[in-house]
Symmetry: C2
Subunit: 257 residues, 2 copies
C-alpha cells in the first residue's frame, strides 16, 4: 500500500519539513520503494515531479527537498505497487485538465473488478486502478457539468456520488485538488492537522528534526497537512472516518458542503 | 521569440550535451528568460520539468543538466514571452492525453487572431497562443479519429491539414511527440541533424565543449536532434523549409508519409 501527503494553505508555503519525513518512508522508515511523485500548484500552473525510483535514491526527490517551491496546494505520493508495474506512467500524482484548469490526484488503496466505461474525452495511460479511478472521477464530473465548473456545493455532491460508487470496489483513500480546493477521501486511513496561530514547534516521527513554526509564519497563516499516517509526534492529528470526504480551502477544512 | 530543442532516438539517450548549450540561451548567449521546460518520454510515461525562471537561474535546469534521464523522445523549450504573462501555466512543453497516450508540444512563433472553437473534451489552461494551438491540434485529431490512434499516414494527413490552417495565423514552428513519433513543423526556422555511425566529435556553439560521440555510442545508435538554431559548429545541420512537416521515428526522418 502507498502513502499520501497533501498540503492546503492560505498563503503559498513550502512543504520541505513534511516532505523531509515523508520521503524517508520511501525506503528507510517504511518500504514504499516503487516510485513517488509530488505536484505543486502555482497559480493556474501545476508542476509534477515524478520518479520510478524510491525517494531515497531519487535525484528528483533531492531537488524537491532542497528547492523550496511555494504552493497553496501540494499532493505527494510514495508507491508500493499493488496493481500496475513499476514504471513512470504508474507513478502518482496524476494530472489532467478539466474545465480549463489542472486537476491532480493520488490514491492509496486497491480497487478490484473496476473497469469503468469512459465517455471518450479521456482515458488512462498506465495500468493502475488509481489512474483509472481518477479518469472515472473527472469523466463523470465533466459529463455532469458540461458547461464548466459548477458551484462548490454541486461539485461536492457529484464527487460524493461517484466516490461512493468507486469505493464500493475497495480501499479508496485519495487526495484530489484543482489548485483551489483540496478534497480528501478516507476509506480506512487518512489523518489531518491544521497549523494556525499560535504556532508551536513540531517534531518529525521519521527522523529527529524539529521546526519552530512560530519563527517562520505570520499570524494569519493557515496550513493543513493531510497524511496517511501522522508525520509529527507532538501535535494532535485528526483521524478521518471511513467514508468521509473532506473539503479544504485556504488552509482549513470547510464543513457543511 | 522562443527556442525549441527536440531529440528522437532509436535507443534511450540522454540529452545532457545538447541541453548544456541550449540552456545557455536562456539568459547567457541569448535572451530567452521567461521560463523554460523539458519533457522526457520514458516508455508510456512522460515527465515534464518546468520553471518560470530563466534556465541559468533554475535549480530544476541544474537537475536536468546533472541527472542523465534516458529517453527516446525529448522536447525542450526556452521562452521569450510574446503572448501570455510569465507564469508556470504558460511554460512549454505542454502535455495532454489523447487516445490513451501522452502527447507533448512546444511552439516557437506567434499566432494572431487565433481563437479556435473547442469540442469540449479539452481546453487551454494558460493564455498563450501556443497552448491554444496544441489543444486545437489534439481536439481536431480526436474528432477525426474518435475510436483511437489511426495509421500513421492518416494521422500525418490530418495533422498536415490542421497545421496548415493554424499556420495561416502566423509563425508556427513546433515540435510534437507521442513518445513514438516526433513531428517537426517549420514556419521560418528549424534545423535538424542525424547522428549515426560513424560517430565523430561534436563541438557546441554556445560554449567551448566537445563530446566524442564515437566513445559513448554503439554502432547501431541513431539520434536526431532538432533545434531552432544549430547547437554545434562542426556538424552539418539541415535547415527545414517553410511549411515543411517532418516525421521522425527511431532516430531518423521518415519521408513519404
Amino acid at each position: 500500500m502507498c502513502q499520501l501527503l497533501g498540503m492546503n494553505c492560505n498563503v503559498p508555503t513550502d512543504i520541505c519539513f513534511s516532505f523531509e519525513g515523508f520521503q524517508l518512508r520511501g525506503g528507510v522508515t517504511d518500504h514504499h520503494k516503487d516510485g513517488w511523485g509530488i505536484a505543486f500548484f502555482e497559480g493556474r500552473g501545476c508542476r509534477v515531479f515524478l520518479d520510478a525510483k524510491a525517494t531515497i535514491e531519487s535525484p528528483v526527490a533531492e531537488l524537491v527537498r532542497r528547492y523550496p517551491i511555494h504552493s497553496k496546494n501540494v499532493i505527494a505520493h510514495i508507491r508500493k505497487a499493488t496493481q500496475g508495474r513499476v514504471a513512470l506512467e504508474n507513478c502518482h500524482p496524476f494530472k489532467r485538465e478539466l474545465w480549463g484548469g489542472y486537476w491532480v490526484f493520488a490514491h492509496n488503496g486497491n480497487l478490484e473488478d473496476f473497469q469503468p466505461a469512459f465517455s471518450g474525452s479521456l482515458r488512462p495511460v498506465g495500468d493502475t486502478d488509481s489512474e483509472c479511478a481518477f479518469c472515472c472521477l473527472l469523466d463523470r464530473l465533466r459529463l455532469a457539468f458540461p458547461n464548466g465548473s459548477p458551484a462548490i456545493a454541486d461539485l461536492s455532491a457529484a464527487l460524493r456520488t461517484v466516490t461512493a460508487e468507486i469505493a464500493g470496489h475497495g480501499l479508496f483513500n485519495f487526495l484530489l485538488s484543482n489548485g483551489e480546493w483540496m478534497f480528501a477521501h478516507c476509506s480506512d486511513r487518512l489523518h489531518y492537522l491544521t497549523r494556525q496561530s499560535p504556532f508551536r514547534e513540531a517534531h518529525l516521527i521519521d527522523q529527529d528534526m524539529t521546526v519552530d513554526f512560530s519563527a517562520v509564519t505570520r499570524p494569519d497563516d493557515k496550513v493543513t497537512v493531510i497524511a496517511s499516517v501522522p508525520l509529527t509526534d507532538n501535535e494532535t492529528w485528526t483521524a478521518m472516518h471511513p467514508g468521509e470526504l473532506l473539503l479544504f480551502r485556504e488552509g482549513e477544512a470547510v464543513f457543511g458542503i
